[in-house]
C-alpha cells in the first residue's frame, strides 16, 4: 500500500495526516510545537504512523509534503507547499463544494477564495497582528483563568455580549481584565471577545468575497463561540468538515503529495 503524508508545522501545534492511494485518511496526530520544526514534524508523523496496524516508518512514505511556518526546515520532506494552498486543497478534498475558506491559526489568519478545482484563486492574510488568532485567545483564556473550551462554552451562555472596543490584542486583554474587575458578567465579556474577533475575521473574508460554501479551518475552528458569532455576522451557515479542522492543512499537504506522486499538479 502506497502511503502519503502531510506535516503541518504551525507556530503552536504540529499536525500530521497519512492517506492511502484511494485518499482514505489512515492516521493523524496533533501535538504542541517544539522549538525545532523538524522535531515537531518527525514526532507528529511518527505518532500518527504508530496508530496504524502495520509498522510503518517515515521512510516508507511514498511522498511527504511539509507545510506551515516551519515547512522549509523539514529535510525529510520531498517538497514543501504553502499552508494557504494546503488548507484550500484539504478543505475542498473533504467537501468539493467549498469555495471560501477561513483559516485561523495560532499566529495568523487567512481567507481564501477557491477555484472550482479547489486550488487558490485569491487570498488575503493578516500575519502582522496577533489579534484574532489562537495566541490572542490563549491570552484571553489566561485572563479568565480557564482553558479555551471552557471559555468557548461560557461565551455561548451570553444573551448580551459586551462590546470590546480595542482592536489590538494587547489592549483588548487589558480591557477584558478591566471588565472582569468591574464584575461584568463573564459570559457577556467572553461573548464580546468572540464578537470582536469575528468582526475582524469577517472584514478579512469579505475582502476575498464570500462565495458559499464557506468553511473554517485551523485550531480556532474548534471555538464554537467564535463560529456562532461568525455565522450570525455573515448570515450564513458554515460548512462543517468531516475531519478535525485543525488537521485540514496537513490533509491538504498529504493530498498534494498523492497528486504530485501521480504527476498531477
Amino acid at each position: 500500500m502506497k502511503l502519503f503524508a502531510g506535516c503541518d508545522v504551525g507556530s503552536t501545534t504540529g499536525k500530521a495526516v497519512v492517506i492511502n492511494e484511494a485518499g482514505d485518511i489512515m492516521a493523524h496526530y496533533i501535538l504542541p510545537s517544539a522549538i525545532d520544526p523538524e522535531v515537531t514534524a518527525i514526532e507528529s508523523l511518527s505518532r500518527a504512523l504508530a496508530q496504524m496496524a502495520s509498522d510503518y516508518e517515515i521512510a516508507d512514505m511514498a511522498r511527504v509534503i511539509g507545510t506551515g511556518y516551519g515547512r522549509i526546515e523539514l529535510s525529510f520532506a520531498h517538497e514543501n507547499v504553502s499552508e494557504i494552498t494546503c488548507h484550500a486543497v484539504g478543505a475542498h478534498f473533504l467537501d468539493n463544494g467549498i469555495r471560501t475558506v477561513i483559516d485561523i491559526g495560532g499566529q495568523d489568519c487567512k481567507a481564501m477564495a477557491l477555484r472550482d478545482d479547489g486550488y487558490v484563486l485569491d487570498f488575503v492574510m493578516n500575519d502582522k497582528c496577533a489579534a484574532g488568532t489562537g495566541r490572542f485567545f490563549e491570552g484571553i483564556g489566561r485572563a479568565f483563568n480557564m482553558d479555551l473550551e471552557s471559555f468557548s462554552r461560557l461565551s455561548l451562555e451570553s444573551k448580551n455580549p459586551i462590546a470590546i472596543s480595542s482592536q489590538c490584542s494587547v489592549f483588548a486583554e487589558s480591557e477584558v481584565v478591566s471588565l472582569i474587575s468591574q464584575r461584568k458578567p463573564p459570559m457577556d465579556i467572553a461573548a464580546g471577545v468572540q464578537k470582536a474577533v469575528a468582526k475582524r475575521t469577517m472584514s478579512l473574508v469579505r475582502r476575498v468575497g464570500i462565495v458559499e460554501k464557506l468553511t473554517i479551518t485551523g485550531g480556532c475552528a474548534k471555538n464554537a463561540g467564535l463560529l456562532k458569532m461568525l455565522e450570525e455576522g455573515l448570515g450564513i451557515e458554515m460548512a462543517r468538515l468531516s475531519l478535525d479542522a485543525q488537521l485540514v492543512g496537513a490533509l491538504g499537504a498529504a493530498v498534494l503529495a498523492m497528486r504530485h506522486e501521480r504527476g498531477q499538479e
Binding site: 514543501n80 504553502s82 486550488y119 485569491d122 468575497g209 462565495v211 499538479e265
Partner: protein, 469 residues
C-alpha cells in the same frame, strides 16, 4: 544620472554596441555644450545634483543578463531616450529660457511644440530619479513633508515638491496643468504657483468626457489653453506646424501599434519597465521626431527579439498585466519576476493608451482628436469619471494581450485607485482571473521595502499561480 546606469547596462550585456550607445550619449552632452556653451553646462552641473552619476544597483547587475540581447537593447534604448530628453530639455532651456513652459504629465506637449515653445514635463525627473537613486528621491520627499506638504498623499508629487523646494528644476515662465490625476497632484501645482509666482493654466477635464457634451467642453478647454499661451508668449499657434506635429505623432503611434501586436503573442519580445520607459515618450516628446525614432527602434528590436532570440526571456511561463504605475523605487521587480517565475509584464496602465490617429484635415479635427487623446491619457481617464473607465481598459488589456494574471499595484498614497480595490477583487473572482493586489509606495521605499514587495509576489506566485518556491 541615468546615463551611467544606461552605459553600465550596455557595458555589461551588450559589448558590441557600447561604442554606438556611448556615442549617442556623448553626442547629447556635446550638443548641449556646443549649443548652450560650456558655461551653461557647468552651471547646470553646479546647480542640479540629479546630474550626478549614480552606480548601478547590484540586483540589476545580477538580473539583467536573464534578458535576451534584444530585450536588453530595448531597455538601453528606452533609457537612452530619457537621457536624451533631459539633456535636450536643458539645452533648449539654456538657449530660449523665455519660451520655457512647464507642463504636467497628463497634458501632452504636441500643441506646445507647434507653438515653438520649450515644453518641460515637470514630473519627468520625479519619475526617473526614484528608479536610479531612491535615497535622493526620499530626501526630496522629506524636504516636501518638512515644508508642510501632507505626508499621506502620493509620493510622486511629494518628490516634485521636494525638488521645487530645493531649487532643482529650471524655473518656469508659465505652467499648464489639469485637474487630474489626483488631489495631491493638483495641490502640488498650487505650491508651484506660490513658489514661482507665475501664471498657471488648469485644464478642466469633465467627470464624464465620453459623450459629445463632455468632449465639446474639453475641446473648449484646449482652445482656452491655446489662447492663454498665445497671449502670454506672444506667439500664434501655427496650424500647419501643428499638422506636421500631429502627422509625426501618427507615425509614432503606428509603430506603437505594431509593437503591441508583437506583445500579444507568446513569447513576448520585451516588457516590464522597458515598456513603461519607452512609452513615456508620448508624455515627454509627443509629436517629435525623437519619439517616433524611439518607437521605430523599439519595433525593430522587438521583431529581432522574436525572430533571433525566441522572445525577451528564456522561459516565459506567465504573462501579466500591471495596473497602476510600477514601483519607481524598485524597477528590478520586473527583472526578478522574469528570472524567478518566467513572468513577463506584457502591458501596463501607463503604456496602454486609448488613443487614436489624429485626423489632420483641419484645425478643428486636430484639436478634437488631441482633446480626445488628452482625456483618454494614462491615469487621466482612470482616476476620474465612472469606474468603467478603469475596469474596461484593464479587462480589455487582459484579454487582448493574452495575459494569465493581473498585478494590481496598490500604491499606498493613491486614494483614488485604492478605493476601487474591493470592486476589482470581486470582479476578478467572478471572472476567475488570478489577481495579485500588492502594497507598495510609488517613490518611497520606506513604507514597503523591496523585500516586502517580493514576499507578496512570492506568496501569490506560489499559492495562486502554482509556482514552486
Amino acid at each position: 544620472m541615468i546615463m551611467a546606469l544606461f552605459l553600465d547596462s550596455i557595458t555589461d550585456s551588450m559589448p558590441v554596441t557600447v561604442g554606438k550607445f556611448f556615442g549617442i550619449a556623448a553626442f547629447d552632452i556635446a550638443r548641449l555644450i556646443f549649443s548652450a556653451g560650456p558655461r551653461a553646462f557647468l552651471d547646470y552641473r553646479k546647480r542640479y545634483e540629479w546630474l550626478e552619476i549614480p552606480s548601478m544597483p547590484p540586483e540589476l547587475r545580477e538580473l539583467l543578463p536573464n534578458r535576451s540581447p534584444g530585450y536588453t537593447a530595448a531597455t538601453a534604448v528606452s533609457l537612452n531616450y530619457l537621457v536624451y530628453y533631459a539633456l535636450e530639455a536643458l539645452r533648449r532651456i539654456a538657449i530660449e529660457p523665455e519660451k520655457l513652459l512647464w507642463h504636467e504629465d497628463i497634458v501632452p506637449p504636441e500643441i506646445f511644440h507647434a507653438m515653438g515653445l520649450v515644453p518641460f514635463l515637470v514630473e519627468a525627473l520625479p519619475i526617473v530619479i526614484p528608479n536610479v537613486n531612491n535615497v535622493m528621491a526620499e530626501r526630496y520627499i522629506d524636504v516636501a513633508e518638512n515644508s508642510g506638504y501632507p505626508a499621506d498623499i502620493c509620493s510622486l508629487p511629494k518628490t516634485l515638491m521636494g525638488m521645487v523646494e530645493s531649487n532643482q528644476l529650471p524655473p518656469p515662465k508659465a505652467v499648464v496643468t489639469s485637474n487630474s490625476p489626483c488631489d495631491g497632484g493638483m495641490a502640488s501645482y498650487l505650491m508651484i504657483e506660490k513658489k514661482y509666482n507665475v501664471p498657471v493654466f488648469r485644464l478642466d477635464l469633465p467627470y464624464n468626457f465620453n459623450d459629445q457634451r463632455g468632449l465639446d467642453y474639453y475641446i473648449g478647454e484646449v482652445r482656452r489653453m491655446i489662447a492663454f499661451l498665445e497671449d502670454l508668449y506672444s506667439v500664434e499657434l501655427d496650424y500647419d506646424r501643428l499638422r506636421e506635429v500631429c502627422e509625426e505623432r501618427n507615425r509614432c503611434f503606428s509603430y506603437t501599434l505594431d509593437i503591441w501586436d508583437l506583445m500579444r503573442d507568446s513569447p513576448a519580445p520585451l516588457g516590464g519597465e522597458t515598456l513603461v520607459y519607452s512609452h513615456l515618450c508620448y508624455q515627454l516628446g509627443g509629436g517629435t521626431h525623437a519619439a517616433t525614432k524611439l518607437m521605430k527602434q523599439i519595433l525593430r528590436i522587438a521583431r529581432r527579439s522574436v525572430e533571433r532570440d525566441g522572445g525577451g526571456i528564456p522561459n516565459e511561463r506567465h504573462r501579466l498585466i500591471l495596473w497602476n504605475p510600477p514601483p519607481l523605487v524598485y524597477p528590478e521587480l520586473f527583472l526578478w519576476m522574469e528570472k524567478e517565475y518566467g513572468a513577463i509584464t506584457v502591458m501596463d496602465m501607463i503604456t496602454f493608451r486609448h488613443q487614436y490617429f489624429i485626423d489632420t484635415k483641419s484645425p478643428e479635427t486636430m484639436l478634437r482628436d488631441l482633446a480626445v487623446i488628452m482625456a483618454h491619457g494614462p491615469m487621466a481617464q482612470h482616476t476620474r469619471g465612472p469606474y468603467e473607465n478603469f475596469f474596461d481598459d484593464l479587462f480589455f488589456m487582459y484579454e487582448s494581450f493574452n495575459a494569465d494574471m493581473i498585478m494590481m499595484a496598490a500604491h499606498l498614497g493613491c486614494k483614488n485607485t485604492r478605493a476601487l480595490l474591493g470592486m476589482f477583487r470581486e470582479i476578478c473572482r467572478k471572472r476567475s482571473i488570478p489577481l495579485l493586489i500588492f502594497d507598495y509606495d510609488l517613490s518611497d521605499r520606506r513604507p514597503m521595502p523591496p523585500e516586502g514587495i517580493k514576499k507578496q509576489v512570492a506568496n501569490f506566485m506560489e499559492n495562486v499561480m502554482g509556482e514552486k518556491k
